[in-house]
Structure formats: C-alpha cells, structure tokens
C-alpha cells in the first residue's frame, strides 16, 4: 500500500464530525503554529516541503506566499479555490465531503502564515450540499475555539466564510474567482498586477486550491523536510488523482508521486485495469485541458523510459510527446472511444465556458466546436482538419487568461496524435456514424491486463 498523508484517516467512522477528527489528532497543526511558530516559520516549512499548487499549474506554494505584498494597515486575504470544474477532476469535492475539517485546519494555519483575518472558500455553486458540510465544520471549529478572536490566546483572529459561485468554469481562474467573489461577472483580470499585490478588494491576496491548503496540515505536523522525502525529484509528497473513464475502479486515489502510470492504471490498489476486458487506447492524465496521449506514449516516454505519475515525467517530451499532471483529473479511454467525438465534447465545453472577453477565445472556441461537430457527424472535409489546427494555434497565447490555451491544447494534441482518425471520419463519413475507428496503431505496447 502506498503511503497516505491526506486520506489516511478517511476510513475512520465519523471523521466528518469535529469530535472524531479531533480525537484522531485533528487541529494539532494549529496548536503547533500558534504556540511555537511565527508566520514566516510556517511559510518556510511550506517552502522546504517543495509543495506545488495542486489546482493544476503546479506553482510552488511557499514561493507564492512569499510574493505576498505586506503594506502597513492594509488587510490581506487568503481565498481557497474550491471551484473544481475541470472535466475529469473531482478530488477536492472528495476531500471536502469526507474530511472537511482537514481543509478548515489547513485554512487556519495558512491564514496565520499569510496574515489573513477573513478567509473565503469560493466553492462552485453546484456543490450545494458540500456548502452545508463546510458550514457545519466551520461552526464546530468556531465553537471549539479554533476560529474567531484571539485563537488559543495567540492574538491571531480568523474567520472563515463559504462563498458559493453560480456555475462558471472560468471562476476557477484566480482573478476571475476574485471578480466573482466581489459580486461581478467572472471576467479574468489583466496581470500584472498579480493578486499577491492587488487581489480581493484591491488588497494583497493568496488564492490556493483545496488540496494544496489541506496538504499544509501534514507538512506542519511532520515538518517540511520530512514531507519532501515523499515522492521523487521536484514532485514531492502525495497527490490526489481522480480517475474516471473506462476503468474498473473509478474514484479518488492518493498516490505517492513515485509510482508508474502503468501501475496506477493496472494495479488493483488504484484503477484496477481497463473495464470490460477492453484495451487501453488513450488517456488525458491531468484534466481536460492537458494533451491527450495515445497508450504507447502514456506508459513509456518517447525515450522509452517508464512514464511516472510525477510533474516531470508526465510532461517529459513537452507537448510533442508528453502531457501534464495538471489537476490530477485522469481520464482513461478504451478502444471503443472516439477521439473526434471526445475532442468535440471538450470544445463544446470550452465554448460554453469562455467568458467572452477576448476575441480569439470567444470566436475560436465557437469555430472549433462547429468544425468538430461537422467532422464528428460525417460532414467534414479534409481541409477542415488544417483549419482546426490553424484556429487552435491562433487562440493559444493570445488571451488574457489560460482558458484559451486550455481550449486549444486538447484539440492540438488530438490532431497531433490521432490525425488518421480525423481523416477516417472525412473519408468514411457514413461508417464513422455507425462504428468507432478502434485502436488502430494506438494500442498499448504491452499485453492487455498486465
């Protein structure tokens, strides 16, 4: 069994309640930091841990905290990004549903580190029942003296509030999230200034993902150096992976970042292999925005090395032959899945979620969806594939926020690796309506069910 730091207590009956959580060592990190550490000490431990943001970008968390401006007399804010909306990703939801106090504990410690007396959890509005779970946990924490004024006699005040969104993927982008939290449309802001200087209400702000903030708890409890011994290289610690698609055991798994992709897919401890005895065709390893990989590039890198579940290994080969760990949204496709149809679905998603602020994204996602619809429905022409390639290339890098890139990358990767499947849709329009292209040359190099 792999070592766990976040989900190790999830199996304990009643862990969602304060009493059980506390009996099992909960809130000890708050005691430790408020009694024995300065805010800078906390930031230093997080820096030493090597923790990288778990929302998708993988930016070092301690460094992000270090950038925070601290002008005299200006409030600072910590905002937890719980707007989990990246297709394939459902790990933050799992944490909040099953062990909500872990997030609250992490929020108190992190608020102390960045000096936030008023901390918000921005959660996607669709998670209505989780709002109730979190509000219950916050009330319990407050009744037991972990929130409010002068916590544990330390002089540190902190309140945590839950703020529901209302259905907009773009609000997972941190400046769109702040706009939304201010009661506006979720239009991303032009950067700089970055939130660390001008964030919520124009004040210095740190925005971190749910899993990132929860991970601060084990880091403080065990020390940053000890945490850094988990995992490999620049991928320290553990990562939650939400696995879905055509596998035997979809679900949320905590992995230590030292196992191979092959082990993750085929071992019974994790995905349990491809469902229905089918074979692996392709996989999107880090949420819908990251490049899709055909099986032969998923299990081994282009250099023939074993592909590992780490930031470095999954991005080995760049976008030509690699992908990204991203948010940990791991979508597996078996031989019956159609790449064109799937790419169409993702483009429809990004067209729906584009805020409309930048023309390349607003118009580009619209045209990509249209072209892909034609290809998928047997109405495409060969030149449409090149047109699609050109449209995605004109979105990437030309927008205020990364949604444009996120919309372009899956299309680019699908054409790069599966061009013959697109061409087959054009040359066999009727057959493409009746059956799937199948595995072609993308089958795993290993025998099924290893």
């Amino acid at each position: 069994m792999g070592r766990k730091l976040l989900l190790d207590k999830v199996g304990i009956v009643g862990i969602r309640s304060y009493d059980v959580y506390r009996k099992n060592g909960g809130y000890s990190s708050v005691e430790k930091v408020l009694k024995t550490m300065s805010p800078d000490d906390v930031t230093n431990e997080v820096k030493k841990s090597g923790l990288r943001g778990r929302g998708g970008a993988g930016f070092p968390t301690g460094m992000k905290w270090g950038f925070l401006a601290k002008p005299e007399g200006v409030p600072r804010y910590l905002v937890c990004n719980a707007d989990e909306s990246e297709p394939g990703t459902f790990k933050d939801r799992y944490l909040m549903e099953h062990i909500p106090h872990l997030l609250i504990e992490g929020l108190i410690v992190s608020s102390y580190a960045v000096g936030s007396n008023r901390t918000y959890i921005y959660i996607r509005g669709e998670f209505g029942w989780i709002v109730d779970i979190l509000e219950q946990a916050i009330a319990e924490a407050k009744n037991n003296g972990w929130l409010g004024k002068n916590i544990l006699g330390s002089g540190f005040d902190c309140e945590v509030y839950v703020h529901p969104g209302a259905g907009a993927y773009i609000c997972g982008e941190e400046t769109a999230l702040l706009e939304s939290l201010e009661g506006k449309r979720g239009n991303p802001r032009i950067k700089p200034p970055f939130p660390a200087v001008k964030g919520l209400y124009g004040c210095p702000t740190v925005v971190n993902n749910v899993e990132t903030l929860s991970t601060v708890v084990p880091i403080i409890n065990m020390g940053g150096d000890e945490y850094a011994k988990y995992g490999t290289g620049k991928s320290t610690g553990t990562k939650l992976i939400s696995a879905c698609g055509n596998i035997n055991k979809p679900g949320v798994y905590e992995i230590e970042m030292n196992i191979s992709v092959e082990e993750f897919i085929y071992s019974d401890e994790y995905c349990g292999g491809i469902a229905n005895g089918k074979r692996l065709k392709a996989c999107v390893p880090g949420g819908s925005s990251v490049p899709v990989l055909p099986a032969y590039l998923l299990l081994k890198t282009a250099k023939g090395e074993t592909r590992m579940m780490t930031y470095e290994s999954l991005s080995d080969g760049g976008f030509q032959t690699g992908s990204m760990l991203g948010s940990g949204g791991f979508i597996v496709y078996d031989e019956d899945q159609c790449i064109v149809r799937n790419t169409y679905s993702f483009s429809r998603f990004y067209r729906h979620e584009s805020c409309g602020q930048c023309s390349p994204c607003r118009e580009g996602t619209f045209w990509m969806e249209k072209i892909l619809w034609n290809l998928e429905h047997g109405k495409g022409k060969m030149k449409d594939i090149d047109l699609l390639w050109s449209v995605q290339g004109n979105i990437e890098g030309n927008t205020i926020c990364p949604l444009g890139d996120a919309a372009a990358w899956p299309v680019a990767a699908a054409i790069r690796h599966f061009r013959d499947e697109f061409e087959w849709h054009v040359t066999h329009p009727e057959e493409a309506q009746r059956r799937n292209y199948g595995l072609a040359g993308y089958a795993e190099p290993l025998k099924a069910g290893v």
Partner: protein, 166 residues
C-alpha cells in the same frame, strides 16, 4: 410586489455580514441563489430589481451577473430540474443514452419543460462527478451512476412527492 419574508431578510443580513463593510456587492451571488429558491425557481426581471434594491446596486449590475452564470434560470422552469452532464468523461460512460432516455420518458427535448410544469430537462457541462458518471444535478444534490432503471425510479419518486404536496 415581491418581498423576502422576515426570516429570509435576516438570512440576507447574515450573508452581507460575511464581507467587509461597504463590500456588500459581494453578497450578490448568494442572495440571487436565495431569491431564485424563494421566487419560483427562476429570476424574473422583477426579482432581479428587488435584489438590486436590497443590496443598493444598479439593476444593470444584477442583470449582468444573472446572465453570466449558468445556475441562474432566466425563464420559468419545472418543479424538478434535471441537469444531465454531457461532457467527455460522462460520454465515456453513456451519458448520451441517458439524456436521450430521459427525453423520451418525459416527452421533451433538452431545454424544455413538461406541459404539466413538473419537469425541466437541461444538459450541463462538467459537474465534477466524472468518477460517478453518468450523472445529473437535481436541486441541491447529485444523482449519480445513472441507469435507465434509476432514471425511472427518480421520475416516479418526483411524481409521487409532487402528488403528495399538491
């Protein structure tokens, strides 16, 4: 003239108190949720104007927000709203068939409401439940691992509880 009850007005005050003084515009999204719940499941222009007056905002500030977010309904919906996820990971587990099946059972297409005003069928983009696909949102909760049988049960359940409440 629409108006929140005393109890709901207290709830609005509590929401406003979460934000620093002078930043009550932040309360807009949660208060719109509350208004939608209270006033028939959708946001009429009258409802939006009321929320604007309550928070001291220009009506345009409310309209631009209400039209941006997908959870706010800008036209009347049925008593039960089925929002079925249609994004990639759900497709791999058969969401297309489920959407088609619900449509056939209710005799409506996505975006429509049954003539008796009981059901609205909508498609939704990723609801963050990819491992429990196919799935849909219904009210405050999710219905996951959907099968045709499960859909039948849910529809029956809704009909039963609507009959009791009438």
């Amino acid at each position: 003239m629409i108006q929140f009850s005393e109890e709901k007005l207290k709830q609005v005050e509590k929401i406003i108190a979460r934000y620093p003084e002078g930043k009550q515009k932040s309360a807009l999204l949660p208060v719109l949720h509350l208004a939608q719940q209270e006033f028939g499941g959708w946001l009429s222009p009258e409802t939006m104007d009321y929320v604007a007056s309550l928070l001291g905002l220009l009506t345009i500030e409310v309209y631009e927000v209400a039209t941006f977010y997908s959870m706010y309904n800008l036209k009347p919906v049925g008593k039960y709203v089925f929002e079925v996820c249609q994004t990639g990971p759900c497709i791999t587990r058969g969401s297309d068939d489920i959407i088609k099946y619900i449509g056939e059972r209710l005799g409506i297409k996505p975006g429509e409401t049954t003539p008796d005003g009981l059901f609205t069928l909508k498609t939704a983009e990723c609801l963050g439940a990819c491992g429990y696909a196919p799935m849909m949102q219904m009210g405050k909760g999710y219905k996951e691992h959907l099968t045709k049988e499960k859909v039948d049960e849910i529809i029956e359940e809704c009909r039963r509880s609507a009959a009791i409440n009438n």
